[in-house]
Amino acid sequence: MIGEPWAKESKQYAVLRSNALNFASAELAPVADDLENTVDSPLLWKAVERAGEMGMLAALVPEQLGGEGVDLYSLCVALEESAVECAGFAAALLFHNAALLSMGYVERKDLVEEFTKGRPLCTVATAGEVSLGEGRLQGRAPFVFNVLEGTVALLFASSGDGRTAAYVRTGTEGVETHIDPYPLGWRVSNFATLEMKGAEPVYVLDKSGKEALEATERTLYLGLAAIANGIVRKSFQKAYDYARQRYQAGKIIIEHQAMRLMLARMLCAMEEGRAIIRRACGIEELGPAVIAWRGAVANSYGAHRDAVQIHGGYGYMRDYGMERLMRDAKYCQMFPRPEEEQLLRLLDMAERGA
């Protein structure tokens, strides 16, 4: 079938991909629009429960701590397939898994057990400025998803020893939550700024913090790349189907060279996306993950923009399912850091040989 990868995966990943796609088709596709319109809906928690049954809520946590202990590429496969139907849900899963990953490093089985119950999900805050001093957190962390009462957020804070990671729980003393009522994309869960006013962390990663932080960041970059690739696939599917039906200038639009070029570029984007994600998952370093993210999200931007264009006026209207892809894809490009800042950091890392 057109859109299937040319490069075949091993049976293990092919089965995983198939299961994840079945999950997305059965659990996410029918409710994706409703999930977008109501945060914290029962539909979301039903889908989260099913994701939990499939091992998608603690995918990267070692088995001895109660997780699935799968590799990062497996999580990326699951996220990509979920994103084909609902990128917002995939993003929610990604943040939850990235937050739990660090708990694996500190071997806190009790925390993992608590946070894999499914509601509320955990989350990660990468932006803003939070500091940790005398056991208390101060500062602001913007652009945080999955926020509900009792959400546990992993914050990257500055401290006397450099950067460290701390978990904080919303709804507790010293943690103020400012919900953004109107985010551009990923509208499945609440989107908020967390303000720390002397909040006491649930847990602080100390010695293993640096390693855990890098692993979390790497997971975020590759997970976002996978979500972006899922959006490319959906864009291609919808645009290809539409182009074979819509008539314009005396022929169906897929016969127009301009449309064929757009679709061909989407095919390239899908194949490139899969290749760079796969490659970066095999390298236990942050640099390749950043490069994969950059390539995948840039491809995704071009693909969804063209897919909306192929749909013409229909692409711009909510009822036809294209505009959500465009909004969700943009957040894959804006998160977890501004692109240029990340590029400069990438060169710094390369110079240090990191």
Binding site: T126, A127, G128, E129, R140, P142, F143, H178, D180, P181, Y182, P183, L184, T193, Y247, Q248, A249, G250, H256, A258, Y301, R305, V308, Q309, G312, G313, G315, Y316, M317, R318, D319, E323, M326, R327, K330, Q333, M334, F335, P336, R337, P338, E339, E340, E341
Partner: protein
């Protein structure tokens, strides 16, 4: 010298658009004063009305897509934006540089909120065919009603209906119209026409009182039978059953129009039967694509303003603008805005050169010079609506709206449309990438601009169609296409 005579807005316009300064210096002060006046009004409209409510209204219209804020149109009445295309003899404010003024108005309004701006601007798109088709029989009725409503702050609005469910881009160009799959059809009956079918994505469609509607009399011969009708909302069988939830530019509705045996009298044909792609109506395409370029430019400029405000604000002790890379990006963005302005002004100035002559002709001046009581006499109205009356006006319009001018106007319009739209998308996207995961009002604004900008790549013919239109340019006359042969024969064998 200039500094003493001009307001701050005038100085800004002269700085940003040197062509306006050149016209001023060349003695066209009256016309340029009108231009400055329009932009000043737009600035005030944005400052006092549009900007304070834009984000909230945008959010509300996502929850309640059928809601329409009539205060937009009432406020537009205050500034007389609804009659920017209506001749002064009829009480309107059409200036010496009507197309330029419209383009600058849309640029300015869209820098505040392109949804609100579209609600205002789409009305003028509906008015334009009544003017450019020379349908003078309706000037003293429909256009007068708009002007009188405007003065009383009881808005009477129009919409232009061309897009059909199965034909969007196809109905925008004569070449494609010939092969379009149409759903709306008009059948000739005694005393008029009966319309059946649908139009979709019609801006201001659910609010307008009057519609200029294009329809084929024979769907198998759309180009030869394409006709423009003036349809009134209260005509039996007409309804607007659906309003779309758009990704952006939400303050203006995109509505579906349903025609179920709608009888339209002969008198409501604008121009001739089958003349719907004649120069009078084709002028609308040319006159509307250029302003889409200015809409895109306004959106881009709005995004740039918010991005600049973000860049100047201290975060974590630092201002982004103090970094070279941010300043370089700002320079690129400003370059995009200025490039856009050059393109849409080329089109607008050419539009005024052609359109100004066509409207300022002896026949129309003579007719408009008559007292209103004479013009509205049934004898006069019947003459203007008769074959001979229309033939007279058509002959005048054809004299001024020459084919080669129309081709050039369409080329400049299409070039402005797709270039400005692409630049606007690129600017908004880049601004968001630079801001990243940022909690700020500026980010919310730029996100809105990003959603709004996408529509400019789609409406008034997709950017792909407009690129093809630009290819109508006679390259061999414009460019030197001879390939020089620097080597002697045989060297490059």
């Amino acid at each position: 010298m200039i500094g003493q005579e001009l307001s701050e807005t005038g100085k800004r316009l002269f700085r940003d658009f040197p062509i306006l300064r050149m016209l001023w210096e060349s003695g066209r002060k009256r016309g340029i004063r009108e231009t400055i006046d329009i932009v000043e009004k737009a600035e005030e409209f944005n400052r006092t009305f549009a900007v304070p409510r834009a984000l909230e209204l945008d959010m509300r219209m996502e929850r309640e897509p059928e809601y329409f804020d009539w205060e937009i149109m009432r406020e537009a009445c205050k500034y007389r934006f609804l009659s920017i295309f209506i001749p002064k003899q009829l009480g309107g404010i059409a200036g010496e540089f009507m197309v330029t003024n419209t383009s600058l108005l849309m640029d300015e309004l869209c820098s505040g909120c392109s949804g609100i701006a579209l609600a205002v601007g789409a009305h003028s798109l509906g008015v334009a065919p009544v003017i450019t088709s020379g349908a003078m029989a309706h000037w003293d009725t429909v256009l007068k009603e708009i002007v009188e409503g405007e003065l009383k702050r009881q808005p009477v609005t129009m919409a232009y209906a061309i897009t059909e469910p199965s034909a969007g881009t196809d109905v925008e160009e004569p070449e494609y119209l010939e092969r379009a799959k149409l759903s709306l059809e008009a059948k000739k009956v005694k005393g008029g026409y009966v319309l059946n079918g649908r139009k979709c994505f019609i801006s201001d469609g659910s609010e307008a009182k009057y519609f200029t509607v294009c329809a084929a009399l024979d769907r198998n011969r759309p180009l030869q039978t394409w006709t423009t009708f003036l349809v009134e909302r209260d005509m039996e069988g007409f309804s607007t059953p659906r309003v779309e939830l758009k990704m952006g530019q939400r303050a203006s509705h995109a509505a579906e129009l349903l025609f179920e045996d709608v009888f339209v009298p002969d008198s409501h044909v604008l121009g001739y039967e089958g003349d719907g792609m004649g120069n009078g109506i084709l002028m609308i395409m040319a006159a509307s694509r250029g302003p889409v370029g200015s809409i895109a430019t306004g959106i881009a400029r709005g995004a740039l303003q918010h991005f600049l405000a973000w860049a100047r604000t201290k975060r974590n002790g630092k201002r982004p603008i103090d970094e070279d890379r941010i300043r370089m990006n700002l320079a690129d963005m400003w370059g995009m805005v200025q490039e856009n302005r050059g393109l849409y002004m080329n089109n607008a100035m050419l539009g005024d050169a052609i359109f100004g002559k066509a409207l300022d002709n002896p026949i129309m001046n003579l007719t408009l010079g008559l007292p209103s009581s004479l013009r509205t006499m049934s004898l006069m109205r019947n003459f203007l609506n008769s074959y001979y009356g229309k033939a007279m006006i058509n002959a005048v319009l054809r004299y001024y709206l020459r084919d080669e001018d129309m081709t050039q106007l369409l080329e400049t319009a299409s070039l402005a449309k797709f270039s400005c739209a692409d630049n606007a998308m690129e600017l908004c996207s880049r601004a968001l990438n630079l801001m990243g995961p940022e909690d700020s009002e500026e980010r919310r604004w730029v996100e809105k601009c990003y959603r709004d900008a996408k529509l400019t790549q789609i409406y008034e013919g997709t950017n792909q169609l407009n690129r093809l239109v630009v290819n109508n340019i006679r390259f061999e006359e414009t460019l030197r296409v001879e390939v020089p042969r620097p080597f002697k024969k045989g060297v490059m064998a």
